[in-house]
C-alpha cells in the first residue's frame, strides 16, 4: 500500500515537474527537482529499501523522458533514496530544520553523483555550476520542507474540518 502511494507520488511529481514546474518556477535560476523531493520523502518515511526502489523508479523514468544516458538519474536517485532512508531510520527528521538540512545534502549528493558520472564518462551533458547546484539545493530544501509540512498537515486539516462540520450540526 505504501509502495503504491510512493509510486503514485513519484508519478505525480514527474507529471508536475514536466508540466507545471516550468510555469511555477518561471524566471527562477534554480531548477527545483520535485522528483528528488518525493524520493527523499519516501526514504524518510519508508526506510532505505523503499527509498532506493523509489529512487530507482523515479530516476529511470526521468532518464527515459530525457535525452541523456539511461541510468544516470536512476543511480543518483537510488543512492539518495537509500541514504535518506538510512538517515530517516537512524535520526529523527520530523522537524523542519533537519528535513531542510537533509534535503540540502540530498540535492548536493544527487548533483555530485550526476555531474561526477557525466565527467567520468566524458559526456559533458551538464554545465551546472556550483552556484546552480547550491541554489538548487536551497530551493529543493525550501520547497521540500514546505511540501512535507503540507502533506503531513493536510490529513489532520481534513479531519479537523470534518470534525468541525459534525459538531456544528
Amino acid at each position: 500500500m505504501r509502495s503504491a502511494a510512493a509510486l503514485a507520488a513519484i508519478l505525480i511529481a514527474i507529471a508536475v515537474q514536466t508540466t507545471l514546474a516550468q510555469y511555477i518556477f518561471r524566471g527562477s535560476s534554480t531548477a527545483i527537482d520535485l522528483v528528488l523531493i518525493v524520493v527523499v520523502y519516501v526514504g524518510i518515511k519508508s526506510g532505505p529499501v523503499t527509498g532506493l526502489l523509489a529512487g530507482t523508479v523515479a530516476g529511470l523514468i526521468q532518464d527515459a523522458l530525457g535525452p541523456g544516458i539511461l541510468g544516470l538519474y536512476g543511480l543518483a536517485k537510488t543512492l539518495v533514496g537509500f541514504l535518506s532512508g538510512v538517515l530517516g531510520t537512524q535520526f529523527i527528521v520530523s522537524a523542519p530544520l533537519p528535513r531542510f538540512m537533509l534535503l540540502l545534502m540530498a540535492t548536493v549528493l544527487h548533483s555530485a553523483i550526476f555531474v561526477g558520472l557525466n565527467q567520468l564518462l566524458n559526456l559533458q551533458q551538464t554545465g551546472a555550476s556550483y552556484q546552480t547546484i547550491v541554489g538548487q539545493a536551497f530551493g529543493n530544501a525550501f520547497v521540500g520542507v514546505v511540501a512535507f509540512q503540507m502533506i503531513e498537515w493536510f490529513p489532520g486539516f481534513v479531519d479537523r474540518r470534518r470534525a468541525g462540520r459534525f459538531l456544528k450540526r
Binding site: 526506510g47 532505505p48 529499501v49 523503499t50 532506493l52 526502489l53 530507482t56 544516458i69 539511461l70 541510468g71 544516470l72 536512476g74 543511480l75 537510488t78 543512492l79 537509500f82 532512508g85 538510512v86 558520472l117 564518462l121 559526456l123
Partner: protein, 283 residues
C-alpha cells in the same frame, strides 16, 4: 514474505540496484576506442573467467597427461626403445655398407691408376700373435697368388704375401719387424730401405747423412727390392736425426692405417727389377 526479506537486506538491494544502473549506463556509453563500455567490461570480465577456466582445464589435462595417462606410456616407451635400437642397428649397417662401398671405389680407382694385374681381396683375419704384424686375406693360389707378391691399398703399401694357400693367404705387413721395402724420398730421390720396427712405425735405413731430409717428406717405394712396384706411397717422415754413423736415423709414419685394413689389392705383375734379375741368369 519476500518483500519483508528484501527489506531486511538493504545493502543487498542497494548493491543490486547500483549494479543494474552501472550495467545500464555501460550499455549506452562508448569507450575511447569506440566500443560500448558494457561490451568491453563484459568481455574483459568474461575473458578473465575464460582464462581461469582454461587454467583449470589445462591443470586437469596436465594432471591427466602427466600422471594418470602415463600407464600406457611405459608400453609406448618400450616400443620406441626397441624401434630406436632397431634403427640404430640399421644405421650402423648402412654406414658400414657406405664405408665398404667407398673403400671398394677407392680400390677400383687404384687398380685403374696402377695399370697392374691385381686382384682384390678382403682381410678376413689378423695376426695370431701380437709380436707379428700379419693379416689373412681371402684370396690364395687359386687366384694365382704367390709368395712375395705386393699387397697395396688406396692409401699406400700394405705388405707382401708370405704364405699363400688355395683360398687364403698370409700377408706380412710392412710394419712387421721382418718387413722391408726399397724406398726413396720423393722430394730428393734419395734412396734407402724401409723396415718395420714393430710398434706401428717404420724406419728408413741407409740414407746418407749428407742427404737432404726433412720432416714431412713423402717416402715411396723404389721398386729395387723385386717385390713392390715403384712409386707407391709408404709414408711420411715423422722425424729425422743425424745419427752417430754416416747415416740418418729416419722414422716414418705409415700412410696406411693398418688397424682399419679391410680391402686390399694384390699385385700379380712382378716388378721390372725381378723380371730383369730372372732374365740375367738365363742369359
Amino acid at each position: 514474505m519476500a518483500i519483508a526479506d528484501i527489506k531486511q537486506r538493504p545493502g543487498l538491494v542497494l548493491g543490486g540496484a547500483i549494479l543494474l544502473h552501472v550495467v545500464l549506463i555501460s550499455a549506452q556509453v562508448n569507450t575511447a576506442s569506440g566500443l560500448p563500455v558494457l561490451q568491453v567490461v563484459t568481455f574483459g570480465s568474461f575473458s578473465e573467467v575464460q582464462r581461469g577456466t582454461m587454467a583449470v582445464i589445462n591443470g586437469v589435462r596436465g594432471l591427466w597427461s602427466g600422471y594418470i595417462a602415463l600407464q600406457r606410456v611405459e608400453e609406448e616407451n618400450n616400443a620406441l626403445k626397441h624401434e630406436l635400437q632397431s634403427l640404430q642397428i640399421t644405421l650402423q649397417q648402412e654406414r658400414a655398407e657406405a664405408q665398404r662401398t667407398d673403400n671398394l671405389r677407392q680400390l677400383l680407382e687404384l687398380r685403374e691408376r696402377a695399370n697392374l694385374d691385381t686382384v682384390a681381396a678382403e682381410v678376413i683375419a689378423g695376426a695370431a700373435s701380437p709380436d707379428f704384424k700379419t693379416v689373412t686375406i681371402d684370396k690364395g693360389s687359386s687366384d694365382q697368388l704367390a709368395t712375395d707378391m705386393a699387397v697395396i691399398s688406396p692409401a699406400g703399401v700394405v705388405g707382401r704375401v708370405i704364405l699363400p694357400s688355395r683360398r687364403a693367404s698370409k700377408v706380412q705387413l710392412l710394419i712387421d719387424r721382418n718387413g722391408a721395402a726399397g724406398a726413396l724420398i720423393e722430394r730428393t730421390r734419395v734412396q734407402g730401405v724401409v723396415v718395420g720396427i714393430g710398434d706401428g712405425m717404420l724406419r728408413m735405413q741407409y740414407v746418407p747423412g749428407t742427404a737432404d731430409v726433412k720432416t714431412g717428406d713423402l717416402v715411396v717405394t723404389s721398386g729395387i727390392d723385386g717385390i713392390y712396384p715403384k712409386g707407391f706411397v709408404i709414408g711420411t717422415i715423422d722425424h729425422a736425426d743425424r745419427g752417430v754413423g754416416a747415416y740418418h736415423e729416419i722414422v716414418i709414419r705409415p700412410a696406411v692405417d693398418f688397424s682399419r685394413l679391410e680391402e686390399v689389392l694384390i699385385v700379380r705383375t712382378p716388378p721390372a727389377s725381378r723380371t730383369a734379375a730372372a732374365e740375367e741368369p738365363a742369359k
